[in-house]
Symmetry: C2
Subunit: 474 residues, 2 copies
């Protein structure tokens, strides 16, 4: 009954070396999160469906993995009215789906499924804050490093299971948080050796202000979506798209400065202040940008560059103040490796009003690829033992295992080859595992209570006492 | 549209202190796994249903969480024949279910669901080994620390989502592995401060031998299930159950020594050797026990006790050699906190024959409860910052943030209160967070370029330079 084993598309097995490299990144991020005063929480892999549904838009709902009510739990719901709603499904043979069919499908799904896999870490965090509000001391700085699942079509670099690493502060509107989050990005990427990342910053109020000034407040989304494409389709392309969306020629004239928005951050802020002079909200955004950028500059960054990018609009529906995005160091072709921003009403969906939140996220998979491409993983992330004792037979193995046991108590990673195999095979095993030293203990070594230590790279051998062995392997 | 937030029954949120305590246990286990030469792998949260189904018995199949084919992926399967199979479901109003109904339900389920949540770490590991056999260097010592899910009825201490921590060696029949695994248990529990755990050991071949000797080989399961209850229902109870299961009086006479099986391990092994003198398999089991126990004894354990327990039979269908179980230190009422054993054909279900495996598992949730009950969590697991800077206004905050940033670069966990709130409120925040020091920086401190460090427990205050501050907080 042998099956050819495989895993679902969009998921991954991680080998020892991959786990070690991923943990190196996780541990680095975690240590900086903690140094900045963030505290870890963890939430369940699946939430009640109603906690997640409707929070990510229509597309999001469709991409949420639902869990079937299982075993008896399925059966006890014996009143489900299936045939009527399923007639639609059975006769549908098109790839598209009508609204009526969608409604029927959703009814059906919610009857046989009441739980769903976590889609991101933000909604579960909002749920956590509301549910545990009486135990939490605000402002609450939390971090969370857990996998999420999305039923997206798998592609190169896009998976159905992947980790998110989020740090958020909830319960304070202070802009010092934004300053700190920029420093946190700088701190993590510097420590990872990724020098020269660009932390782009923008502000939702600035984007609203621009739309207001050009009399296109009702077209804010269309406007920002088009502006966001500036580096892809160029000035002419953006203008063409804006005109198509009904933004006037006159309006485009007013925002002409945005199409060649260069200079230092100070100069850009000055330009924005002029452009938005008539918009109260826009000027508020400019003031926020000014506070954040000035303080970041005064405190200083270790290796990252801060840049004001007025075309940055990620998750616009969501963010209400600062918007962040991190680009890989120059020369590495990779999308953003982090992003975040401020959202003024994080927990309102669960009934707790006036809880401002601000947070950032690290894109683990892309960071991994960048570090790999630049060859920046430290050699020490591989966790091979320092030495392997050869196994020459029961008496010698007993002698070896006593040493192995004592070395481990000294904190040294060692092991013994478990079988009395041919010596060549044993050496080969150490070599394939990347173990740098072999300890040879034959009858002579046992008789003399010594150890023959062989450097597998140089071939150099020396006979030593146990005390010397400890010293050499440490 | 506020919803009262909650999580699915049988799942848990973990607060910062709980995550810190759990990570303390995970990290301790992980460090010993690595010291013993085990390497980490990770497998996907969900597997193809056919990888899991049929591997855990009928009960297990029912407890596996299935994932609904989602969105378009559900829809593209437009040929599912639902009504026929679902008539049964719709008309069924009893809590019990007929075989026909079960078949229909399974057919239906497999049509709308092709993926399922990981139920344990062993089957995914077997699948991993077979799938990646050409990349693996055998013997392969792997560890895996990941959550699993079971649709069990939630109870006190039994959850639907919980972590397993497994270490297994595959590809070697050497009994040194068993010796090492006993040492690994000892090493981990000693490091966690859980001194005096009992590592019980038995052997499947000994149990088979006993059944053979008393002429009840066909009743091996009944026999061991009854024997396993010795400490619960006593000698008379066990004998009564055995007689009911058709084991003869004469047979019970032969195994009378098992009912008062005391003495040292050496004595027990001697008794078993006599009892099983006529069973080849039984004597093989005795020889295995002898090798393991003698070597463990000779190498020595740090704080655990090894005990030979002939009534130990956990997972009998599964294990083929050694069987392990760990009991909490005397005086703590808790079931087993770990278990494992050898299984000679780990990967056969996926088509790779002759791969012997042996492994052990740590029961995280129970270990947590034992450590909590004995008050053994180190105070340092809580990850509160060392100091909080008070916030007296923008100028002072800027001065404070510069110091905070530099202290963090020195590896010191500090933060600044983000808002210019009343000082009493700020102190209260530090207190509730368990932060030991406050740094007070008002106009005077800024003017003199100094810092006022206050010990929040003693109330003691001192004015220091930045260099002194670094020294004091380090």
């Amino acid at each position: 009954m042998a099956q050819k084993p495989s895993i679902p598309k969009g998921t991954r097995d991680f080998s020892p070396i991959e786990v070690a490299k991923r943990n190196y990144i996780f541990n680095t991020i975690r240590s900086h999160f903690e140094k900045f005063g963030f505290q870890p929480i963890e939430t369940p892999t699946f939430e009640n469906s109603e906690t997640l549904m409707g929070k990510y838009g229509e597309e999001g709902d469709r991409l949420i993995f639902k869990i079937l009510n299982s075993g008896n739990f399925f059966f006890n719901k014996n009143k489900i009215e299936l045939p009527e709603s399923l007639d639609v499904l059975q006769t549908n043979s098109a790839e598209t789906i009508s609204v009526k069919e969608l409604v029927e499908l959703n009814k059906f799904t919610s009857k046989i499924s009441e739980k769903a896999l976590r889609y991101d870490l933000t909604v579960p965090f909002a749920r956590y804050v509301v549910q545990h509000q009486n135990e939490i001391e605000f402002p609450f700085k939390r971090y969370q490093i857990q996998p999420v699942w999305r039923a997206d079509r798998p592609q190169k670099g896009r998976f159905r299971e992947f980790y998110q690493c989020d740090a958020d502060v909830v319960g304070s509107t202070s802009l010092w948080q934004e300053v700190e989050l920029v420093q946190l990005y700088d701190s993590v990427f510097t420590d990872l050796g990724l020098k020269g990342v660009t932390i782009k910053i923008n502000n939702r109020k600035v984007l609203s202000g621009i739309a207001e000034v050009i009399g296109a407040s009702d077209k804010l989304i269309d406007f920002t979506v088009a502006l966001d494409k500036l580096d892809k389709i160029g000035e002419d392309g953006v203008k063409k798209e804006m005109l198509e969306k009904g933004i006037s020629e006159a309006a485009l004239q007013k925002v002409q400065p945005l199409f060649s928005f260069t200079g230092t951050i100070e100069e850009k802020i000055e330009k924005l202040a002029q452009l938005l002079a008539s918009s109260e909200e826009g000027l508020k955004g400019v003031a926020e940008l000014k506070f954040i950028c000035e303080n970041v500059s005064e405190i200083g960054l270790q290796s990252a560059n801060l840049d004001l990018d007025v075309t940055l609009a990620r998750g616009l529906n969501y963010y209400t103040g600062a918007i962040f995005e991190v680009g890989a160091p120059a020369g590495v072709a990779m999308g953003s490796i982090g992003g975040g921003g401020r959202y003024d009403d994080l927990t309102g969906i669960f009934g707790l009003k006036n809880m401002s939140g601000v947070g950032i996220s690290f894109g683990l998979d892309r960071i991994y690829l960048v570090i790999e491409e630049l060859g920046l993983f430290p050699e020490t992330v591989t966790s091979a033992p320092t030495a392997m004792f050869l196994n020459f037979g029961e008496t010698e193995a007993k002698y070896a295992m006593k040493a192995v046991s004592k070395l481990r108590q000294e904190g040294i990673k060692v092991e013994m080859y478990p079988d009395t195999a041919k010596i060549g095979k044993q050496f080969q095993h150490a070599d394939k595992r990347g173990i740098p030293y072999a300890v040879i203990v034959g009858a002579d070594e046992v008789a003399n209570q010594v150890y023959n230590l062989k450097n597998l790279a140089s071939g150099e051998q020396q006979t030593v006492s146990f005390e010397e062995l400890v010293k050499l392997l440490k």
